[in-house]
């Protein structure tokens, strides 16, 4: 039976007590440490240079089910744990370091605990010893995990609140427009005006459809597992550019694509397509007026562990002040940002899911450059 009750009630001052005792032993030749050690709830083990047991305290004996007759450490703590302690002891002897390690310990009965082991060498009467101090930190580590989970849940809840709020708003907006339009169309006799209103109705419906599609893309990204394939960038980019052909202003943007040869890159094709489509669509949407020669350069090159994608445009750029916010959920940074403010958020989340990074470099009025690094999701 593992004596968890005893080792659980470790107070921090005990560590200082041991530390101080060690220090005073060094300095004032205090005769024996064992009296102090017996009263501790920490488990103590002291070995000599040959890793033979010199001393164990009560707490150690209770915890490891040792008894006074058994002096073979290997038999008390088990082979695996023994060799781990041994390597720490060597380290302490050779480097004269104080080290701390978290180790899983499974007792003969199968009870598993997480032990924090502090290892330090000390000298007494010209002999060198290693002292091990064990503390059961299972509960502490569990608590830390719970705390981390709680924090991530809190964050998700805030996001969810925001999501529901914005979704309700953005789904209602085009609907209320439809209702409003129907209201003013009812008594309208001017055919030209009526035709305008029909166009606007169509736009409202498309907008709503677009929003629902984006939400679908977003949930797909969060819920579905990655589907890894070898990526053929040429056909992927062709398909994306083909989709963007009929976007406003697309014909005025000169696009050039450079893809390194022999890329051996694996990733989730559908997610990658969502990312590239959104980024390229933005570059087109925020290009300057027709009088300028708008360019968009896409460069895809291999890296040791993946690939680098750089997208450079000479569009309207992003002001410094809002650059940190453009990837936030529902943030709309420009007056002509007529969408839901969710596109770049989806891009960021998708990149995270793919294990990559995204960075932004832009100067207002001059250019925007987006750099993606994506790891290859299969060994080369």
């Amino acid at each position: 039976m593992v004596g968890t009750a005893e080792v659980n009630f470790v107070v921090i001052s005990n560590i200082f007590l041991v530390q101080n005792t060690l220090d005073s032993a060094k300095n004032s030749k205090m005769p024996s440490l064992s009296k102090v050690f017996e009263s501790l709830s920490l488990s103590i083990l002291i070995t000599d240079e040959k890793f033979e047991v010199v001393y164990t305290n009560n707490s150690f004996n209770n915890f490891f089910d040792g008894n006074e007759k058994e002096i073979e450490l290997k038999n008390i703590v088990g082979n695996k744990f023994y060799s781990e302690l041994r390597s720490f002891a060597n380290e302490a002897f050779n480097l004269d370091l104080v080290s701390e390690h978290d180790l899983n310990y499974t007792s003969l009965e199968g009870d598993s605990v997480l032990l924090n082991v502090r290892v330090q060498q000390y000298e007494e009467n010209k002999n060198t010893y290693v002292i091990f101090i064990f503390k059961d930190v299972s509960q502490t580590r569990v608590n830390q995990k719970i705390k981390a989970y709680k924090e991530s849940l809190d964050k998700m809840n805030i996001e969810l609140d925001q999501f529901v709020y914005k979704t309700a708003h953005d789904l209602r907006a085009p609907l209320t427009n439809l209702i409003g339009l129907i209201g003013i169309m009812r008594n309208e006799t001017d055919l030209e005006l009526l035709s305008t209103y029909f166009d606007l109705q169509e736009k409202s419906v498309s907008k709503m459809d677009d929003f629902i599609q984006k939400i679908t893309a977003y949930t797909k990204n969060t819920r579905l597992p990655l589907l890894v394939h070898k990526i053929d960038f040429k056909s992927l980019i062709d398909s994306v550019l083909n989709d963007l052909m009929y976007y406003d202003k697309s014909e005025f943007v000169k696009k050039s694509v450079h893809i390194s040869k022999d890329l051996n890159f694996y990733s989730d094709k559908e997610r990658l397509e969502i990312v590239l489509k959104k980024l390229l669509a933005n570059a087109i949407k925020f290009s300057k007026s027709k009088d300028n020669i708008s360019t968009l350069n896409l460069n895809i090159s291999g890296e040791e562990t993946g690939c680098r994608i750089v997208l450079h445009d000479n569009g309207i750029g992003i002001p410094n002040a809002i650059q940190p916010k453009v990837f936030d959920m529902f943030y709309r940074g420009h007056a002509s940002a007529d969408g839901a403010g969710i596109g770049l958020y989806i891009v960021k989340e998708t990149i995270l899911k793919l294990g990559g990074t995204i960075s932004l470099n832009s100067e207002e009025g001059l250019f925007t450059e987006i750099t993606l690094f994506l790891p290859s999701l299969k060994e080369k």
Partner: protein
Amino acid sequence: MIFIVDDDPVHNLITTQLLNNVQFNEEVVIFNNGKEVLGSIAQGNLPRVILLDINMPIMNGWEFLEVYHNFKNMAEVYILTSSSNHIDLERADEFECIRGYYTKPINKETIKSIFGL
């Protein structure tokens, strides 16, 4: 002078058309966000009524009111929004200049009620 502040051009068209339909004869000016309104006021334009959306890029309705509620000669502000969220509704109570809160869609009755026609 009436200010309509909304980034949605369809909403702005509907509102203008509804005002035309009731033979409203005050000047109507349209803005896409709060920042544009502050710019116009800085140039000396003093609206009598502001019809204000909440959710807009650049400067939303609440951000605008945070600045505007310290001004002298404030207009009557009416919120016209598609948000029926209670947080927004409660927030509207914080500003004295807000005379009404309407959830879109708006129609002839909304306009009549705002302008007391």
